[in-house]
Amino acid sequence: MDRQKVLLFGAAAAVRLLLFTAFPSLPHLLAGRVEVSTPVTSFKRLQEGLFLYTHNVSPYDGGVYHQAPLLLPLFSLLPNPSYYPFATNVLFTVVDLLGAQALMQIADSGQSVKTRLFESSRKELRWSSLAMAAGFLFNPFTIATCIARSTSALTNLFILAAMAKASQGASITFVFAIAIASYLSMHPVLLFPPLLLLCYHVRASKSASAPSLLSFAIGHAGALASTCGGLLYVSALLTGSWEFMRATYGVRLLLPDLTPNVGLWWYFFTEMFDSFREFFLGVFWLHVASYMPGLTIRLRKQPLFVAVTLTGVFAVFTPYPSIADAALYLSLVPLFRHLFPLMRYTFLASATILYASFLGPAFYYLWIYAGSGNANFFYAITLVWSLGLSVIVGDSLYAALRDELDVERPELKGKEVKRI
């Protein structure tokens, strides 16, 4: 087992470093792809911010750099990537490996099939954590993200870490991880309630006397708030002013940069009438946020599933999604291997995603370079892509509910059911 793990991780690292060194122009190429790196995660923009930061120009007094301030000192420690990229490459490789490690911890915790209040009737149907890690490490989307050195890899790492720690009931590390994730890209904060619940369940099942949920929640929420506050304060000290808030979270909220991506927002707000822009921004954000409470309440017995589904929602409905988010979701879904038999549109959805990932680049080329197609080509593909992902999300949700039903009422198992 352990040898296999070493082998797997070694292979993954080797593949990445090989790609980095064998094709020196590949990182640059991928970093320029709109599907891989967005204005809020692009490595080239990070380099620009770094350049301005090291030359004492505020990187946030400009329209290029929209990423978290603490990344600047971190990356300024490394040698300049445009001349000595090796250190940066190693860093991103390690980030992926740690993510895989966290994923394995989640899988080993078994929270996906058996929580304190719920135990799936199909729990014997599982994949080994090693297979999960392999699925994550050799997912072409993950590899592309890593080669493009997009900072969403960091966000993914911390989301995975938060899930892992929550599923182990390690409160402090969990809160810390989720705080960093939300600090880096804001929307992961929505993962806090379900993961909090998960953490609570684990703790409760471990210790004989379960602490009261309320105090537990308040305590952790307080911890989260203080950690985030601390991070923000340090950032403010670092950049000397609070204007980074507008340049980072403000950009995510208000979408001033309409660079194309695989999501639904950019073309919508390109074509939106100015008078309605604010209104629809509000609606879209509300829409994203609305999934969290609904799922958490209905599926309170399987909080991990809620968290995973939310990552899927992020991959579709956030303003600047990239294939990195899709990679995260697609490598988390196999945790619920036992639900696959109950899913109905898997083949359809996967084929859709597959086609979209082939046609997307082709249509983008036609629009931007050949000039023979127009923006609608690429837009149509982003629609298809989002549709495919959202179908998987919805279908897995159906499967989860059906699974719960089978536990509640075993007599219905394998029978036709309908919703009322």
């Binding site: 320029g32 709109v34 080239k44 380099q47 620009e48 770094l50 350049f51 301005l52 120009v57 007094d61 400009g62 329209g63 290029v64 445009s82 001033p256 940069d257 309409l258 660079t259 194309p260 639904l264 073309y267 390109t270 074509e271 939106m272 009438f273 100015d274 879209f284 829409h287 609305s290 999934y291 609904g294 209905r298 579709v316 409905f317 109905r344 629009w367 931007i368 370079y369 127009n374 923006a375 609608n376 837009y379 629609l383 989002s386 959202s390 179908v391 999300v393 919805g394 949700l397 509910l401 059906r402 039903l405 009422r409 219905l412 029978k415 036709e416 059911v417 309908k418 919703r419 009322i420």
Partner: protein, 581 residues
């Protein structure tokens, strides 16, 4: 064998015009190679600072004066330019480039204000008023097109008594300069184009020129005695193609000449009645003012001095051997200077005046001073996603290094990556960049402002390049001709010359660039809104439909009522369940 006659004195002569006198004007004509003719008009009017502040205008135009007072503008430079100066064959730019602007409209001014915001609001007042005065869309110079240069521009005037001045600079590269800008320009002149050299300025010829620029400069000058005057200088420089402007206006089509009028190379073996290798004309073309400018020069403007060199308002700069016949009924005075290469004429008042140069075979030519720098800027790469700017600056001088400031003012939707900025000098590893000033753009608020102080060694080429990314705009932000692209203002190169001839400085400007942006489909807003909303609704509806509902066995529903109807209903429901699944 062309005789080596220096022209350096020329600029000095033109510069020393004016001292003291209240209104002077001068026209310099200089035939250039390839049957081109440089005509640079220059008008100056002085008013004392006091009378100006008392709103008591004599030569200074009231309309402009009041605008300046209202906007608290102490020094103003306004440029309308069109076409390209061909330094390769025409040599050094007139006024060392100090009286020209980039393609379109360029405006910079020193505004008196307590703080930045006040300065900017006054700047807006100024641009709006000027746009009304000159029928140009200067009012489109908003925050995104305005920068505050720190190194490139130095005040020409004497501002010892004005402490807190703010320099603001704006360009409109896409503005098409045309006759409607000339008319108000002439209106500012005391003689209003009715007499004096300004009577030669005709819209059609001016805007048919290969290169032309109109400039207005207002600056305070103070003498030693502390007596300050406000000097306004208007100049029009143009390069006319003599052949083209000699064509009659009613028939401007360049039809092929009859074969008899073409000089054939009879030495060619194949030369025949139907085969003719054309020889290029070796002789200077014949021309006179009236046919070149399409108007006749209506004598001197009576407001100019009657005596002294300021009275000589028309100068022509040719080799001495070139015959120049004066054709007028009035009395005129001709004087020669600078080794006879410069002939100046005092015009008769009230009588037409014309210069007539016959076609002539020349043995000597003028040596045109070579420009201190030549610059070419272009966009590399293709596709509407990103690209890179490359500027090649050459220092022809074999001996002296040149230090200069390179100013870029880019629109906000063109996002440069400064960390990709590379400046290389041919055959030398040293980094030419001495000092950098960079103010990045903010989306929809302000443009990029980049200034580089650089030094380029003798006889070497400097290549400057940086990458940029193109933003995609909201569909309401595109102009009607979205697929043409957007114009990027020319880069301004201002030489830092210790031995500056006059207080004006030396400038070189590159051409403007065309930046194609990715365009959305402008016919789609409704479809996009509908389709996107549909996809979101599908996701939302699907998920919440599952969340809010409750599962029950299909049979249980049917098991409810008995009888045929219930049975049928059950079947239907079952079918629905089947489909809905």
């Amino acid at each position: 064998m062309p005789s080596f006659l220096s022209l350096l004195l020329l600029s000095i002569i033109l510069a020393t015009v004016s001292a003291g006198s209240d209104y002077t004007e001068r026209l310099l004509l200089r035939p250039l190679p390839q049957s081109a003719l440089l005509a640079s008009f220059n008008f100056r009017s002085n008013d004392s600072q006091l009378s100006f502040e008392e709103q008591n205008f004599r030569y200074f135009p009231r309309s402009l004066g009041q605008i300046l007072q209202h906007a608290h503008t102490k020094e103003l430079h306004l440029r309308f330019s069109l076409g390209r100066w061909d330094a390769e064959s025409w040599g050094q730019r007139p006024w060392n480039g100090a009286r020209e602007g980039g393609t379109g409209v360029e405006l910079w001014a020193w505004v008196e204000a307590d703080d930045e915001d006040e300065a900017f609001s006054r700047w807006l007042t100024l641009t709006n008023a000027l746009s009304g005065l000159f029928c140009a869309s200067l009012n489109f110079i908003d925050a995104t097109k305005t920068i505050r240069p720190v190194m490139s521009f130095q005040p020409e005037g004497d501002h010892s008594n004005a402490p807190n001045l703010h320099l603001l600079h704006g360009t409109l590269p896409h503005e098409v300069v045309c006759t409607e800008n000339l008319t108000p320009f002439l209106k500012l002149l005391p003689c209003k184009g009715k007499a004096g050299i300004s009577s030669l300025l005709d819209g059609h010829k001016l805007f048919d020129a290969s290169w032309q620029t109109m400039s207005i400069d207002v600056r305070p000058t103070c003498g030693i005695d502390g007596h300050c005057t406000l000097e306004m200088e208007q100049s029009v420089d143009m390069v006319l193609d003599i052949d083209r402007s000699k064509r009659p206006r009613d028939n401007p089509i360049p039809r092929p000449l009859p074969i008899e009028e073409i000089k054939c190379d009879t030495s060619k073996g194949y030369n025949a009645g139907d085969t003719c290798y054309p020889l290029d004309k070796s002789s200077e073309p014949s021309w006179n003012l009236t046919e070149v400018f399409g108007r006749s020069l209506k004598g001197a403007c009576p407001l100019t001095d009657q005596e002294g060199e300021n009275a000589e308002t028309v100068c022509i700069n040719t080799p001495p051997e070139r015959t120049v016949d004066v054709n007028t009924t009035g009395s005129y005075i001709e004087s020669r200077a600078v080794g006879d290469t410069l002939r100046c004429y005092k015009l008769p008042t009230g009588h037409d005046f014309d210069l007539n140069l016959p076609s002539q075979q020349m043995t000597t030519g003028l040596v045109l001073p070579s420009p201190p720098l030549s610059a070419a800027r272009s966009i590399n790469g293709h596709g509407q996603e990103r690209g890179s700017i490359q500027t090649v600056i050459t220092n022809p001088s074999p001996t002296s290094a040149v230090e200069f400031v390179y100013l870029e003012s880019l629109p906000w939707f063109m996002k440069p990556y400064l960390h990709t900025l590379r400046a290389r000098i041919s055959a030398s590893p040293e980094n030419p960049v001495l000092e950098t000033y960079y103010r990045p753009a903010v989306d929809r608020l302000r443009g990029t402002h980049l200034e580089l102080r650089m030094r380029i060694p003798a006889a070497s080429t400097l290549t400057l390049s940086y990458d940029f990314e193109k933003a995609i705009l909201r569909y309401t932000e595109y102009p009607p001709d979205a697929n043409r692209g957007f114009d990027v203002a020319p880069a301004v190169i201002s030489l830092i010359d210790p031995a500056a001839s006059d207080g004006r400085g030396q400038y070189v400007r590159t051409t403007s660039l065309l930046l194609p942006l990715p365009t959305p489909d402008f016919s789609m807003p409704y479809n996009v809104i509908i389709l996107t909303s549909t996809v979101m609704a599908l996701g939302f509806g699907n998920i919440f439909n599952l969340l809010v509902r409750r599962f029950v066995g299909a049979e249980e529903v049917v098991a409810g009522g008995g009888g045929l109807g219930a049975l049928v209903r059950g079947k239907i429901d079952r079918l629905k369940g089947l489909l809905g699944k």
